[in-house]
């Protein structure tokens, strides 16, 4: 082991998932999944369909709530199935914002243009923020002495106008830079139905990035695409890789997992069957299930 890998393994994990279990009725889909992920790493999750990959991703995004397990992000305990009190909707939403999710079916909002798709959630959050500030100002005015209130009101109004235009400018700027990043600047006024599947998925990626999630998840991002369109999407995902973007990609694209991921997890029947670096998993798989799966996915290619 080199010095570098030692340092890496000893750093506290950015994301830690402990013993995630989830059942739907009789069917136990996740049977105790634990893994860790460092900041800036790309984790690829592979495995045959029905093995629990997508459910795991949905649990990370709180679209499903695990029956058992804990989740730590940046040292903070974000989820624990043992918590007795029901978590409020607002709290769940806050938690979700740590994660972004790109869907297999893109799920763009059809009635909005590309740029509005990317801006919508940002705008709503900005509005919420603005309303809170406004309320805080109003409270401050109420507690101020009467003769000062008119003056304060004018001041506050000026600040609020500035905040609002600042928000608007920031959102527009961010949206444009995101569109540039996914290579779709010229499509900003197009509607989703006017785009190819690959372009739609790239917009979906930009939309997920717009809220700057700590961890961006991809649920088989190229499975719904024609083969000739997968390349452009994978290229964009690869281009996102940087020291501060942490990603989890559920994928069937073995080549992509091999080339882009820092860490690979093979899930079978709700359990982690094998994990390690791409080299370890793809070149020297230890488990028989992994070997069989890899053989099969190679066969499909030819």
């Amino acid at each position: 082991m080199t010095m570098e890998t030692i340092a890496k393994t000893e750093a506290p994990p950015f994301l830690e998932v402990k013993n995630y279990r989830k059942r739907f009725g009789e069917n136990e889909v996740l049977k105790g999944i634990s893994f860790t992920l460092q900041k800036g790493e790309v984790l690829a999750i592979i495995g045959s369909s029905g093995g629990g990959k997508t459910t795991l991703l949905r649990c990370l995004n709180f679209l499903e709530i695990p029956d058992e397990g804990e989740l730590y992000l940046g040292g903070e305990r974000l989820f624990g199935a043992d918590e007795k009190v029901k978590v409020s909707d607002a709290r769940v939403r806050e938690k979700r914002l740590h994660f972004g999710l790109v869907f297999q079916q893109f799920n763009l909002f059809p009635q909005y243009t590309v740029s509005k798709n990317i801006m919508l959630a940002q705008t709503l959050l900005a509005k919420q923020d603005f309303a809170q500030k406004k309320a805080a100002f109003a409270a401050a005015r109420r507690s101020a002495p009467k003769e000062k209130r008119t003056q304060l009101k004018a001041e506050h109004k000026k600040i609020l106008t500035e905040i609002r235009s600042g928000q608007k400018e920031a959102i527009e700027k961010k949206t444009l830079s995101l569109l540039e990043r996914v290579g779709l600047s010229e499509k900003k006024d197009a509607y989703p139905y006017e785009l190819s599947g690959g372009q739609q998925q790239r917009v979906a990626i930009a939309r997920a990035l717009a809220l700057s999630p700590d961890i961006l998840c991809f649920d088989e991002p190229t499975s719904a695409l024609d083969p000739e369109l997968t390349g452009e999407v994978l290229k964009v995902i690869k281009g996102l890789k940087s020291a501060d973007s942490t990603m989890i990609v559920v994928t069937h694209e073995m080549e992509f997992a091999k080339n882009v991921a820092d860490h690979v997890i093979f899930i079978a029947d709700g359990l982690i069957e094998e994990e390690g670096t791409p080299e370890e998993v793809f070149e020297h798989p230890k488990s028989e299930k992994t070997q069989a799966f890899l053989r099969k996915s190679l066969e499909e290619l030819f």
């Binding site: 939403r93 979700r96 869907f103 799920n107 909002f109 919508l120 139905y193």
Partner: protein, 214 residues
């Protein structure tokens, strides 16, 4: 009596028909949405109650419902009931809300789960997801069945004459009692004109929502 004086009288009846039409819409469109939420509620008893109400309302003639609301308070409890116009409005409002609710439900359930989930992972509230993401798609989907139902409402206003609301058909019938038959047939002109306008309006609305595809 000249032709025009009769048409003017018919016109007054038609205004009452229009009143019934518009007030019913103002009540039934939002009420129907509320009922559709009830019929999709997570809590089973709520669903059961709403479904029973919708079953009863859709399962009995509107004319009977009008009569029940108008006469029942007096006949059953010996209290003074409500006037005929409000009675008609209540009956129409509830009746159409129930039909609308099923149209809304169909539209809402036709929206893919992915749209809700996309909103959820972007940190939107349930209200934001419904009003900012889902609603316009629902409206686009339900516009054709909605226009059908609304056109039926135009003609159903004539049922109000059963409790002597002086709407278009009621006025025409008073002429027949005096031996003038043609106004009865002439009422069709009013209905046709109204439906014609609605056809154009809904056509335009559909076209307007053609800018996106769901």
């Amino acid at each position: 009596m000249t032709f025009w004086s009769i048409v003017a009288e018919l016109g007054e009846g038609f205004l009452v028909s229009c009143e019934i039409f518009f007030i019913t819409l103002i009540i039934a469109l939002p009420l129907g949405l509320a009922i559709s939420f009830g019929s999709m509620a997570r809590w089973k008893p709520v669903r059961a109650v709403i479904k029973t109400i919708v079953w009863i309302v859709r399962g009995t003639p509107l004319m009977l419902q009008i009569m029940i609301i108008y006469y029942a308070p007096g006949l059953l409890f010996n209290v003074r009931g409500i006037n005929n116009f409000p009675a008609v409005i209540i009956a129409f409002g509830i009746n159409y809300a129930c039909y609308f609710s099923e149209i809304y439900r169909g539209g809402i359930e036709s929206i893919s789960k992915g749209q809700y989930e996309a909103g959820q992972v972007l940190g939107m509230t349930k209200g934001q997801i419904f009003f900012r993401v889902v609603l316009l798609q629902v409206i686009k989907r339900i516009l054709p069945p909605m226009s059908n139902e609304i056109m039926t409402l135009v003609k159903d206003t004539s049922l109000a004459r059963i409790i002597s609301v002086i709407e278009l058909l009621f006025v025409a019938e008073t002429f027949t009692l005096r031996g003038i038959i043609w106004p009865l047939f002439f009422t069709a002109v009013f209905y046709l004109a109204f439906i014609g306008i609605l056809t154009i309006v809904f056509g335009r609305l559909e076209k307007k929502l053609n800018y996106f595809k769901v």
